[in-house]
C-alpha cells in the first residue's frame, strides 16, 4: 500500500517555515508587547519629566544673592535722644532706615571705584531688597550700641537681581522690564567682581516667614513648616489610638450584625470621599458650629485626622488579619482572655504593619491641600505660631501649611514665586521621602511572614 497524496486539499505546512497566518499572529504578539512597554515607559517618563520640572525650577530657591554694604548708622537719625533707649529707638520705622541703605550703596560703590554710566543713585539703591531695611532695623534694635558706628552688613538684593545670578533674568529681559534695567545688571556684575555680591545657601528659605508680593526674595517656609508639624502632631495623637482601637474592634471583637456592617461600609466609603468634602465638614462643623478659630493648626489637624482615619484603619485591619489564628488559639489555650490575647500577643505582632500604614497615612495627610484651603489656612501669616497660648489654646494660633504655601505662591504675580513654590515642593517631597523610606525600612525589617 502506498500513501496517496491528494493534492490541493490543504496547503502544506512545515514547522520550519512560518506561514502567513502565524507571521500575522506573531506580529500581533510583538505589537502588543510594544504597547505594554510603551505604556510602562510613558508612566516612567511622566515621572522623570515631573521631577525634572520641579527640581529645575525649584533648586535655585535654595540659593540666594546677598550684597555686603558698609552702612553708617548716624545717631542723629536713629536715636535723637542719645539715650540708647529701645522704646525711643523703636519709633524710627523701617522707612527711616531706607535712606541709610541708599547712602551705604553710594559709599560702597565709591569705596570700590565702581561707577556705572547712566545709573542713578536711586536705581542703585532699588537693587537692595525692600526687606533689607527691616533686617537693618532688627539688627540695630538688638544691639543699640551699633548706633554711631559704620557696620558691614550682608543684606538681600531684590528678586530681579537675584534672578540675574540664577539665570532667570538677562539683559534683554531687563531692557523690557520696568523693575530692572541693564545698568543695574552692570552694577551687579561689578559688585560681584569686587566680591561684595555673592550667592550663598539660603537658610532663610527654610526658616523665614512668608513675605509680601513685592519681596519674593525674602519669602520663606518657616511658618508653613511649623504649621505642618503642629498638624501632624494632632493627627498622630488622635489618629493612632482611635484608628488602632477601631481596627481592633472591627477585626477581633465585632459581632456580625447590622451595626458592624454599617461601620465597615462607612469606613470603606469614607476612604474614597474626595478630600475637599472634608474641608467643607471642617468649615461647617469645627469653625462655624464649634467656633474654633479659622486657620488654626488644631482645625487643620482635626480635619486631616478624620480624613486619614479610614486610611489608617484599613491597613491596620489587614495587619491584624495577617497574624495567624494559631497565635490567638495558643494564648486562649493557656488561659488568656480574648482581650489579653489581643493586647498581649496579636497587637505586638501586628505593630510593624500598623505603623507602616500609619506613616503612609500621615504622609498623605502632610501633602493634602484642598481641605486646608477651605478652613482658612491660605491666610497670610508672618508670626510664628506658638504651640500653646493662653488666649488661643493648644495649636490655636493662625498658621499655614507647606502644601498650602505652595498654592499661595502660585497665586502671586512675580515670576520669582514660581521658583519659591517649586522649592517648597522639594522640601515637601523630602519630608515625604523620609517618611516613606521609614515605612519601607519598618516593613522590611520587622514584618514577619507566616
Amino acid at each position: 500500500m502506498t500513501d496517496t497524496v491528494t493534492p490541493g486539499a490543504r496547503t502544506k505546512t512545515s514547522l520550519l517555515a512560518t506561514d502567513a497566518k502565524t507571521k500575522k499572529r506573531n506580529a500581533a504578539e510583538a505589537r502588543f508587547r510594544v504597547y505594554g512597554l510603551t505604556a510602562t515607559l510613558l508612566a516612567i517618563v511622566a515621572l522623570v519629566v515631573l521631577m525634572a520640572s520641579i527640581l529645575g525650577n525649584g533648586l535655585s530657591a535654595f540659593k540666594q544673592t546677598y550684597v555686603t554694604l558698609s552702612i553708617e548708622l548716624p545717631e542723629a537719625k536713629l536715636d535723637k535722644s542719645g539715650t540708647r533707649d529701645i522704646e525711643v529707638m523703636k519709633k524710627v520705622t523701617t522707612l527711616g532706615y531706607t535712606p541709610l541703605l541708599k547712602d551705604a550703596m553710594e559709599r560702597t560703590m565709591a569705596g570700590h571705584d565702581i561707577a556705572i554710566e547712566g545709573l542713578s543713585a536711586k536705581e542703585a539703591a532699588e537693587m537692595i531688597s525692600k526687606e533689607a531695611a527691616a533686617t537693618l532695623r532688627d539688627q540695630v534694635l538688638a544691639n543699640p550700641d551699633l548706633v554711631g558706628q559704620t557696620i558691614d552688613l550682608r543684606v538681600l538684593v531684590n528678586g530681579r537681581i537675584d534672578g540675574y545670578f540664577k539665570g532667570r533674568v538677562d539683559r534683554e529681559i531687563a531692557a523690557l522690564d520696568q523693575n530692572v534695567s541693564p545698568e543695574q545688571l552692570d552694577l551687579a556684575d561689578a559688585l560681584r567682581d569686587a566680591g561684595l555680591m555673592e550667592t550663598v545657601f539660603n537658610w532663610a528659605f527654610l526658616t523665614a516667614p512668608d513675605a509680601s508680593d513685592q519681596r519674593p526674595e525674602a519669602a520663606g517656609l518657616g511658618v508653613a513648616i511649623l504649621g505642618s508639624i503642629y498638624m501632624m502632631i494632632v493627627v498622630l495623637v488622635l489618629a493612632l489610638p482611635i484608628g488602632v482601637a477601631a481596627a481592633i474592634y472591627l477585626e477581633e471583637f465585632a459581632p456580625k450584625n447590622r451595626w458592624t456592617d454599617l461601620i465597615e461600609v462607612n469606613i470603606s466609603n469614607l476612604a474614597a470621599v474626595p478630600s475637599i468634602v472634608f474641608g467643607i465638614l471642617g468649615l461647617a462643623i469645627f469653625i462655624n458650629f464649634v467656633g474654633l478659630r479659622a486657620s488654626a493648626p488644631i482645625v487643620g489637624g482635626l480635619v486631616l485626622t478624620l480624613m486619614t482615619l479610614p486610611r489608617i484603619i484599613i491597613p491596620a485591619r489587614a495587619a491584624l488579619k495577617a497574624v495567624p489564628p494559631s497565635i490567638r488559639d495558643a494564648a486562649l489555650g493557656v488561659g488568656a482572655s480574648k482581650m489579653q490575647s489581643v493586647f498581649h500577643h496579636v497587637l505586638p505582632l501586628a505593630a510593624p504593619g500598623i505603623l507602616t500604614g500609619l506613616i503612609i497615612g500621615l504622609s498623605q495627610a502632610l501633602g493634602e491641600t484642598a481641605p486646608l484651603l477651605l478652613i482658612g489656612m491660605v491666610a497670610f501669616v508672618r508670626e510664628y505660631p506658638a504651640a500653646w497660648s493662653p488666649e488661643n489654646g493648644l495649636f490655636g494660633e493662625p498658621s499655614t501649611a507647606l502644601p498650602v504655601q505652595v498654592y499661595n505662591w502660585t497665586q502671586r504675580a512675580d515670576p520669582a514665586f514660581v521658583e519659591r513654590a517649586s522649592g517648597a515642593i522639594i522640601v515637601l517631597l523630602v519630608f515625604l521621602l523620609v517618611m516613606n523610606a521609614a515605612a519601607v525600612i519598618l516593613r522590611r525589617r520587622f514584618e514577619r511572614r507566616w
Binding site: Y35, A246, I425
Partner: protein
C-alpha cells in the same frame, strides 16, 4: 475651676483609683494573689475606668448638646444648662467620685474584675469605631443644612438645570450647575482616556511580560507617582504642561491662548491616575487563576491572545470597577484643576464649539467650591451657600460611583474555587 484643669484632675483621680483598688484587693487576701479571682491590675483598671469614663463621657455629651442647643431649636431646653460650666464640673465630679467608690468597694477577692475591666475597654473600642459613623453623619448634616438654606434663597430648578454660572456678590447671580458639571466630566473623561489605557497596559506588561529586573525598577517608579501630593501635580500643570500645550498645540492650531485648559488638567490628572489604575488592575489580573492561562497557551494561543481573549474577559468586572473608582477620584480631584483648568465656567451660550474645545479654560465643581468658600465669605449669601450644594452634589456623585463599582465587582466576580 476651668474645664481643661478639671479633665487633668480627672486623670489624676483615675490614676489614684487604680493604685487604691489594686492595693485594697491585694490587702484583702493578705498579699496572697492566688486567692484573688483576677489579677490585682484588673481591680485597678476597673476602678480607674469607672472613675474616668462616665465623667469624661458626660463632659463630651454636655459640651456637644450645649453647642447644638445654641445653634438650633432642637435642644432649646438645654440652653440654660449650657451656660453653667460649674454645674457640669460638679455633676461629673460626682460621677467620678461615685465611680471611684464603686471601684474600691468592688476590690474584693470574689469580684471578677477582669471581666468588668474588659467591658470598659470594649466600650472604648466601640466608641473609637463609631467615629467613622459620626464623621459621615457630620459630613452629611453639615452639607444638608446649608444646602437647605441655599435652596431657601435660590430656586433648585435653576441650580440643577441652569445653563449659566455667573456668581455676583452684589446679587442677581446665576448659579447653574450644568456648566460646572460639564467641565468636571469633560476633564475627567480626558484623564480617564489617558490613565486607563496606559495604566492597564502597564499592569499587563508588568505582570505578564516584564523580566524581574525591569519590574523591580519600573514598579516602584510607577508607585512613586501614587505617593506624590496633588499640589505637586497642580504646580506641574501650571508651570510646565500648560505653557507647553499652549505654545505647541493650542496657538499653532488656533484653538485658544490659555495655558490652563481642559487638556492641561486632564493630561496631568491622567498621569496622577496611572498608578491607581495600574495597581488595581494588577491585583485583578493576578487574581485570574494560572490554570486559565496555561489552558489557553496549551491550546496554542500566543501570550497576547491569551491576555486579550482569556485573562481580560475574566478580569473585566474588576477592571470596570477600577475604572469607576478612577472616575470617582477624577471627579473629586481639586488641586490639579484649581491650578490647571482655569476659573471660567463653560459658556453654553457661546455655542457648542466653545464648550467642546479641549484647549479652552474650563472650571469644575471642586474649583468653584474652593473659590466660593475662600476669602471673605458671607454665610447668608447664596453665592457662598452654593458651595455646600456643590459639595453635596459631589459627595453624592462620588459615593454613587463607589457603590456602583463595589456592586459590579461583587456581582460579576468569577468564583474560581
Amino acid at each position: 475651676m476651668t474645664l481643661p484643669l478639671f479633665v487633668l484632675l480627672l486623670l489624676v483621680v483615675a490614676a489614684s483609683a487604680y493604685v487604691a483598688a489594686r492595693a485594697r484587693a491585694t490587702a484583702s487576701v493578705g498579699g496572697d494573689r492566688r486567692k484573688l479571682t483576677s489579677l490585682p491590675n484588673s481591680y485597678g483598671l476597673n476602678a480607674a475606668f469607672a472613675a474616668a469614663i462616665p465623667a469624661l463621657g458626660l463632659i463630651v455629651v454636655w459640651l456637644l448638646l450645649g453647642r447644638v442647643s445654641t445653634q438650633t431649636e432642637i435642644f432649646a431646653f438645654f440652653r440654660p444648662l449650657a451656660e453653667r460650666p460649674q454645674l457640669l464640673i460638679a455633676i461629673s465630679a460626682l460621677l467620678a467620685v461615685g465611680g471611684f467608690a464603686y471601684g474600691i468597694a468592688r476590690a474584693t477577692p470574689g469580684f471578677r474584675a477582669r471581666i468588668a475591666a474588659e467591658r470598659w475597654i470594649l466600650v472604648l473600642l466601640i466608641s473609637a469605631a463609631s467615629v467613622a459613623i459620626l464623621t459621615t453623619l457630620g459630613i452629611i448634616l453639615s452639607m444638608l443644612f446649608e444646602t437647605a438654606n441655599f435652596f431657601g434663597k435660590y430656586s433648585w430648578t435653576e441650580f440643577f438645570f441652569g445653563l449659566t454660572w455667573s456668581p455676583d456678590f452684589r446679587g442677581n447671580s446665576q448659579l447653574g450647575l450644568l456648566p460646572l458639571l460639564w467641565g468636571t466630566l469633560y476633564i475627567s473623561l480626558v484623564a480617564l482616556l489617558v490613565s486607563v489605557p496606559v495604566g492597564l497596559l502597564a499592569a499587563i506588561y508588568m505582570s505578564e511580560y516584564a523580566n524581574p529586573r525591569f519590574r523591580s525598577f519600573a514598579k516602584p517608579a510607577i508607585e512613586v507617582l501614587a505617593g506624590i501630593p496633588t499640589i505637586v501635580y497642580g504646580l506641574f500643570a501650571l508651570i510646565t504642561v500648560g505653557p507647553v500645550l499652549r505654545d505647541w498645540f493650542a496657538i499653532p492650531m488656533g484653538l485658544g491662548e490659555s495655558g490652563s485648559s481642559v487638556m492641561t488638567a486632564g493630561l496631568v490628572m491622567g498621569v496622577m491616575l496611572i498608578p491607581f489604575v495600574s495597581s488595581l488592575s494588577d491585583d485583578i489580573i493576578n487574581s485570574v487563576p494560572q490554570s486559565l492561562r496555561d489552558g489557553s497557551l496549551g491550546l496554542g494561543a500566543t501570550p497576547s491572545e491569551t491576555i486579550r481573549r482569556v485573562v481580560l474577559p475574566a478580569a473585566l468586572p474588576g477592571i470596570v470597577g477600577a475604572v469607576l473608582l478612577a472616575a470617582s477620584r477624577a471627579i473629586g480631584e481639586t488641586m490639579i484643576v484649581v491650578l490647571g483648568a482655569g476659573a471660567a465656567a463653560a459658556q453654553f451660550k457661546e455655542g457648542i464649539g466653545e464648550v467642546v474645545n479641549p484647549f479652552q479654560a474650563m472650571t469644575t465643581i471642586t474649583v468653584k467650591i474652593v473659590s466660593q468658600l475662600t476669602g471673605d465669605t458671607d454665610f447668608a449669601a447664596p453665592e457662598t451657600l452654593v458651595a455646600f450644594a456643590l459639595g453635596l452634589t459631589l459627595f453624592v456623585f462620588t459615593l454613587g460611583l463607589n457603590v456602583l463599582a463595589l456592586y459590579i465587582v461583587r456581582k460579576y466576580r468569577e468564583q474560581y474555587e
